[in-house]
Structure formats: structure tokens, C-alpha cells
Symmetry: C2
Subunit: 344 residues, 2 copies
């Protein structure tokens, strides 16, 4: 068999997307040898006892990834594609089970790059405890895509009785983040290299499923969580305030930010509240469970830097405000326009 799977090319050609022998060789040699999907049909066929439990719900989510550069300090497009979809499931209270992965590849893409991306996806899937069970490959001509785009979809199970959602947030609830903000956005910006910034920054790209299970076990009253990706913490909080019909107040002093990120933002006139994250969540818990939640989070790898950053309030429903370092208060609006294209 190994002879058959041999792929002598070093770059992807249009033939690798044509549905014939070349495509099969590419898929077998680069993808299925690593992901080992169950079965040979075009669909994965799966069974999970957890899904059959009365009252359990199936969670289903999808995201396309177009980040540039495709490899950057702290991750690559493959790692981000696994983390992003795992995290969308996890912040809703679901236990991630299975992922699909679809690749749109530009003609001329290096096979060695594809192999690194695939290896990175397999490694992160193992960390997150999910399996990549089905996939697809398309090839487009030079100039019709940019190296490679990856779309992952995820299926998970929400155990009976678990009801996380922004609508459950109540005034008095405490807002907690799991660690420093903006590292992903800042790392990508630095990695693009056109700013002559030599920051020693890494993306925070990581899976949050273990963290979410820990916090739900320790603080079963947790109301809602959101992955603060594109649009940053500010956009996540605005969406939550609006969905819940509560106000949200954060303290500038409490926001965990690296000096490098603060410095870069000052130089470039960016607001770290809008910088993208790929392993950072914000969650709301009843005040009497905040300490338990923080302790449980800090005991996990992804939650070592967990801190309370604010609270839900009855005032100004739908609006997010920040107490500034100087004792004033300002409105933190949703991002208007775009801060950084192709950040994820």
C-alpha cells in the first residue's frame, strides 16, 4: 500500500483537485494517513452514548479560517482551525466530540506546508480530545486563493440540564477572563513583518474545552461564556450585554495585558480591547460562585491567568462601559469597521 500512497510532487497542482488518482494520492498521503478517519465512505458514521442520553442536545458549529501568515508564533492555520471550532462548542457548554476539516488549496502550495498544518491539527485535536473524522480537498488556480484556507465544523454534546447562554446573565454576575488579552492579534500583526516590530509575542491559540469543564464543575451556576475572537473582548461583551439586556461594566485596571501588547497598541493607535484572541474567553458567574470559578480555572493550563474584570449591572442595558485608570467611565462600543483583516 505504501507505494500507492507515495506522492512524489512537492507542490499542489490543479490535478490534485480533479477527483481522480492524483486527488486520491494527495488525500491518502497527506490527510487520511494522519487523521485516520473511520471508514472509507464520504461520510463519517458515528456513535456516542452521550448523544442518546435523554435531554442531551447536539451542538453544531462551523468556522472558516483564512489567517495570514498561515504559520505564526504560537500556532498556524491548522491549530487555529481546531481550537476555534473546539472553543465555539466548549463555550456553549458542549463537550466537543468530532470535527470535519475542509481545505481550499491554492495551486502551487507547498506539500511540506500542508503536512505541517495537518500535523498541527492532529496534535491539537489530541489535546482537545476530539477526532477529525471527515474532510474535503479542493484546489483552485494560482491567485484564486491565498495558499490554503481551512474550514472546520464541530459536533459536540451538551449534557442534559446544561443551559449556558448570554440571556441568562443577571445584574451582579461577575465577568471573568482566563488570561491576557490581545496576544493573538498582536502576534499576527508582528508576524506580518511589514511594521518592523520585533515583539516577542505568541498567539494565545489554545483549546478551552478542559477549562470549560473545570469551571462548570466548580461553579455550576455559570451563566454564559464567549470566545473573544474577532472583535476582541469588547465585541464579545457587547454581544452578551445586548442578548442579556443588562449593562456590563469593566475595570481598566483589572484587564490582563502584556506590556508588549500595550506598547504595540500605543505605537499603532490600536485598542487592545478589540484585538483578536484565539484562546481567551469571558464568562459570567453568579457573584457567590466567582471565587470557586477562579480557583478552578487557575488550576488548568488555559486558565492560569484567570481574573475578574468586571460585572453585569442593571444600569445602561445593552451597553458596555469601562472604569478607566483615571477614575472616569467611558463607553466601550462594538468594533466599527475593521481592525485587522484575516486575523483568523
Amino acid at each position: 500500500m505504501s507505494g500507492r500512497k507515495g506522492l512524489r510532487d512537492s507542490h499542489v497542482t490543479l490535478a490534485h483537485g480533479g477527483g481522480g488518482k492524483a486527488m486520491r494520492d494527495l488525500i491518502e498521503s497527506v490527510f487520511t494517513e494522519v487523521f485516520e478517519p473511520p471508514g472509507m465512505e464520504d461520510q463519517a458514521r458515528l456513535q456516542a452514548a452521550a448523544l442518546a442520553e435523554p435531554g442531551a442536545k447536539l451542538a453544531f458549529t462551523t468556522d472558516s479560517f483564512v489567517v495570514t501568515p498561515v504559520e505564526f508564533p504560537g500556532g498556524d492555520i491548522g491549530k487555529i482551525a481546531v481550537c476555534g471550532t473546539v472553543n465555539d462548542l466548549a463555550v456553549g457548554g458542549a463537550r466537543p466530540l468530532w470535527l470535519s476539516a475542509a481545505f481550499i488549496i491554492e495551486e502551487g502550495c507547498e506539500l511540506a506546508l500542508l503536512r505541517r498544518i495537518v500535523a498541527s491539527m492532529a496534535a491539537e485535536a489530541a489535546v482537545a480530545g476530539v477526532r477529525i473524522v471527515t474532510g474535503d480537498t479542493k484546489v483552485v488556480g494560482r491567485g484564486s486563493a491565498d495558499k490554503v484556507f481551512v474550514t472546520t465544523s464541530g459536533v459536540g454534546v451538551i449534557p442534559p440540564g446544561r443551559e449556558l447562554g448570554a440571556v441568562h446573565i443577571r445584574p451582579g454576575d461577575v465577568a471573568i477572563v482566563n488570561g491576557v488579552l490581545g496576544d493573538h492579534g498582536a502576534a499576527i500583526l508582528a508576524a506580518r513583518g511589514d511594521l518592523a516590530l520585533s515583539a516577542d509575542l505568541e498567539s494565545d491559540c489554545q483549546s478551552l474545552s478542559a477549562l470549560m469543564e473545570a469551571v462548570i464543575a466548580a461553579a455550576p451556576g455559570v451563566r454564559a461564556a464567549r470566545d473573544a475572537t474577532r472583535g476582541g473582548l469588547a465585541s464579545a461583551l457587547n454581544e452578551m450585554a445586548e442578548a442579556a439586556g443588562v449593562g456590563i461594566e469593566i475595570d481598566e485596571e483589572a484587564l490582563p495585558l502584556r506590556d508588549e501588547v500595550k506598547g504595540m497598541c500605543e505605537i499603532l493607535g490600536l485598542d487592545p480591547l478589540y484585538l483578536a484572541n484565539e484562546g481567551t474567553l469571558v464568562l459570567f458567574v453568579p457573584a457567590d460562585q466567582a471565587e470557586a470559578a477562579l480557583a478552578a480555572m487557575r488550576a488548568t493550563e488555559a486558565g492560569r491567568g484567570a481574573v475578574a474584570v468586571g460585572r453585569a449591572v442593571a444600569a445602561h442595558p445593552g451597553m458596555v462601559t469601562m472604569r478607566t485608570l483615571f477614575g472616569g467611565s467611558r463607553i466601550v462600543d462594538m468594533l466599527v469597521g475593521e481592525q485587522l483583516p484575516r486575523i483568523c
Copy 2:
């Protein structure tokens, strides 16, 4: 609310992918108003009694679509994205339930085009009896994609005891297709317009879920089915022959081909056996159920043209042969290289 959702732009800009207000406006105005996904979280939360049935399996599949042109006679990239994923589920014996839809949009893409694609997806989802429950939007700069790419993933349920798969094909089984071959590939080729061909051809793009349910009910012994997309009937049959370890023999005389498709293939030196289809399947049934399967298929819209085209044989395992019109026999190999890039 309608004021908030108003989108005054006529073309997509990078800001529509930035995670802020512009992105929310785009998503609300173009996507969620039409698809009406359940809930406001980043994940769909779903319940289906069929999934909880003992012995039921979950089917999960994904495909990216990069077809060019994005609109063509008989369909568009949206319709193809729904049909393709519904059909991947259906040919495996699954009842399609839910789809996700992720869009990678090139800056400058017309919003009117996006709206047509989305309307087409919603219409086809209704025909196929599935719901589009979750999605994503990314925007890339001009020249980093080609108008729009769509990735759909699908979740369905395989009822207990249903076991379709190429490994079950036995010598003597009859091969049946549901209608004419190659219309999709030929229609796309003509629609590209660079061949000065004025063929009156439409893509066969259609959902096959109702057809599959009908044939399974009438011929419960059906062994396996494949969607004959990229690589055409020849590639589907080769994959099945190899998986089953049987030979497959088809009759050239029996192959349903339009004169226009035959003519185009003759002019261009293409082989219709390798032309892509988007609503054509090949299935294998035990010989004593072939008449029942054909009758059930012909009673459905998608199966009106159903015919037997060949059979599985004990000879030449893993190989597909064709009895030609002239009484000879030739090997029908897998597609080598590519026939038409970006056909789906």
C-alpha cells in the same frame, strides 16, 4: 429592528469580516434573516428523537465549493453546496437533518450576488428537508479568493440496521444510475464561455435524499450508493470496485447521455464517464431487487431516468471494464490528472 439590520453597502468590504458592527450587519441582513438559525449563540443546539434511537448512527460530512462561474444554468454555488452535502449524507443511507454554511468572500463581491446565493441555499434546503442552522463569514482582500467560496457540513441520522457501504457489493449485483450523465460538467464548461460553445445544457444539480429513501424502501437489500461528482461515474465505480474487491462491468450502450453532451465530448476530446455530476448517483442492488429499485426510483423526480448500466462481477477484482458499442471491452480507469478544475 429592521433599521438596525439595514445594510446600505452594495459590495462586501474588509470591514464586513472584522468582527464588529459591519460584520454583524452583514450576517443579520444577508444570512440569518434568510436561514433563521436557532438561537443567538455561536453554536446551534439541536435535538432529534431519531438520534436517540438505540442503534442509530450519526452521519457527518463536509465539502468546500469553489465552482466557477458561481452562477450557471441549473444552479449556483449555493445550490451545489446544499445538494452536495445532502447527497453525501443520503448516499450513505443517512437522513439529512442539519447543515452548516461557511462563506469565504472576496472583498468587492456584490451583495446582490450573495443574496441570490443565500436564497438559493434556503430554497434547496427546503426541498431537501434540511435546516441550515449555523454558519460563518470571512472576508479576504481582493485577489485572495475568487468572489465566494462556500463550505457546507452536514449532520444526519442513519436509522438502526441500515448498513450501506461499497464493501457490501457482491458479484451479480446490478449497477443503476438515476439519470443522464455529465450534464453538470458539460454545463459548467459551456457556461465558462471561453469555448464558444452554445449548448443548451443545464447542471443536474439536485438533492437525492428523497430518491434514496424511496429506493431503500423498495429495495431494502441495496448495498451501496455513491454520488458521482468530481471524476464522474468512472471514478465512483473505481472506488467502489476497489473497496468491495469485486470487478465492475458496464455497458456503453446502456449509459444515459444527452446528444449535446456526447457532441461536446467528441469535439473536445473529453470522456463523459469522467464528467462531473451534481445530482447523479450510482447504486448497487442484488439482482432480484433491481426491478423494484428501478421502479421506485423512476417514481421520484430525481430518478425519472433511472437505468441499469452494468453489474458487479467476480472477474478482475478492483477493476472497472466497459463493453463498448462495437462489442469489445476496455478498461475504465480512474481519472488521471484533471479534467476540469473548479467544477464544484
